[in-house]
Every structure is written in C-alpha cells, then in structure tokens.
C-alpha cells in the first residue's frame, strides 16, 4: 500500500515536472501573445495540479497537506483571473490575436 502511494507520487511528480517544462518551452516557441498564454496555462493548471498532488501524497494526512490544498486552490482560483486581466489589458492596448484574421469581417468588434 505504502509502496503503491510512493510510486504514484513519484509518477505524479515526474509528470508534473514534464508538463511544467512543456509549458515553458511552449511559452518560448509560440508565435503570439495569446497562443503563449495557452502554453502558460499548461504550467499553471496542469503542472501545479500534478506537482502539488505528488507532494500531497508524500506528506500524507498532516497539516502540510491542508496547506498544500490551500495553495493549490488559491493557484487554480487566481490563475484564470490574472489571465483574463492580461488578455483584456492586451486587447485594450490594441494587441490583436492572429486568429482574428480568420473571422468574417462582420463578426469582429
């Protein structure tokens, strides 16, 4: 049982490290701001979930787990808010997504 939890936690941690890394690579490689935000949200939601989940399994039932859950909840609740603020601020400043060209002219605005 404990061995199983141990293995599961290492798997989660490794996958978390990989997804954090993928998000970082994506943020560097993507062509424009909005596509980069998609890559960043991989690290923010997926990476955080996996890494903190893996640590939670290591911690077991303790005060540390409650704190980790609080941190995870806080990250998951705030990251869409700050992405949204970033997107709306960028739109207001006139940064157009490359996707906009593909819409019919009447639909934009």
């Amino acid at each position: 049982m404990t061995v199983l939890v141990e293995i599961l936690s290492w798997v989660l941690l490794t996958l978390g490290g990989i997804s954090v890394l993928i998000g970082g690579i994506g943020a560097l490689r993507m062509p424009d701001l909005y596509t980069r935000m998609h890559a960043a949200s991989v690290t923010d939601s997926m990476g955080a979930m996996l890494v903190l989940g893996g640590i939670m399994l290591q911690a077991g039932w303790s005060l540390a787990t409650i704190k980790l859950i609080t941190i995870l909840l806080f990250l998951l609740l705030t990251s869409p808010t700050s992405s949204n603020a970033l997107a709306s601020a960028a739109l207001l400043a006139g940064t157009r997504p490359i996707a906009e060209a593909k819409q019919e002219p009447g639909e934009v605005q």
Partner: protein, 178 residues
C-alpha cells in the same frame, strides 16, 4: 447594484437562502479565526490576541465595503461542485495533452480560432464560473465577456469544436439549478 438586478443574479445562482447580515458576519469571523489558528499553530495569549485583532480589522474593512448589506451571491458548496471539479480536472488533463502535442511538434504551426459562445441563459455568477473554467483548461482562453456572450480564443479546432458543442456550459447550468 440595484435590488432588481441582484435578485436576478441570485436567481440562477442556486436559490439565495438570504442569511441575515449578523449571521454571515459571525460565519466569516469563525472562518477567519479558524484560518488564523491553522496557519499560526501557536496557542499563546499574545498570538491569539493578535489573531483576534486581525480578524476584527478584516471584518471592519469588509463591512466598509458593504459586503454584508448587499445581497451577495451564494454558491452551493455541495457534492455537485465537487463533481464538477473532478470533471474539470479530467478536461484539464485531456486538453493539456492536446496543447503539449502542438508545442512539441518540430515546426510550430498553430491555427487559433475565435469562437463566440452565447451564455445568456446563465446567471452572472455562472457566466463567470464558465469563463474561468474555459480559461483554466489549457487550449481555450476567454478574451472578453459582454452581455452574456463570451469571446473565446481557442488554440486548436478540436478545442473550439468541443466548446461549441457545449458540454461545459450544460454542466455549469446544471450546477446553478436547485
């Protein structure tokens, strides 16, 4: 916010139980104090006194922000929200894999699309919940929310199609129903 609009907001948010103001204040005070005790872990009179002081200050500030006199929304923290989170977690995993495939290709070739979603049938709180859930899943991003219409930036055509199919919207709507 006028009384009518807040009543309309709370209608879809899952039946407002309309607790009296002093009860909500007491509830908030209890939650704050429990949080303080959890994070401090010390039970010396000085530290507990400081905690009581900070809770009182927070309550005062929140009161000044008219949190108690205004009709606030109430979410239902029952098992349905938990089930929604589990479903959302699965969606996050699946769409992360999609984004990872795009990122790790040898040549980056993305065709992002803008999609408009009509969420006029949801209450304001549920619209926010939907918009944030869309942003939280990698590959889709809420750009703008205006009069019940969400403008969504999707990285892949599959992600856009899944959104337009509307499963997430149905689930959020089911969450708001009593």
């Amino acid at each position: 916010m006028s009384a009518e609009s807040s009543a309309a907001d709370s209608k879809g948010a899952g039946g407002n139980t309309a607790r009296p103001a002093y009860l909500r204040m007491l509830l908030l005070a209890l939650v704050l104090m429990a949080t303080w005790l959890l994070w401090s872990g010390f039970f010396k009179p000085l530290l507990i006194g400081l905690g009581v002081l900070s809770c009182a200050l927070t309550l005062y500030l929140v009161r000044r922000m008219d949190f108690f006199t205004r009709e606030a929304f109430t979410l239902h923290y029952d098992f349905r929200l938990l089930r929604f989170w589990v479903w959302l977690g699965r969606e996050i995993v699946l769409s992360s894999l999609q984004v990872a495939r795009v990122v790790l290709r040898r040549r980056i070739e993305v065709e992002p699309i803008l999609v408009d979603i009509n969420a006029g049938n949801l209450s304001t709180v549920d619209q926010v919940l939907l918009g944030n859930s869309i942003t939280l899943t990698p590959g889709t991003l809420t750009l703008d929310m205006h009069e019940g219409r969400l403008r969504v930036h999707a990285l892949t055509a599959e992600g856009a199609a899944a959104l337009e199919e509307g499963e997430m919207q149905r689930r959020v709507a089911a969450l708001g129903r009593r």
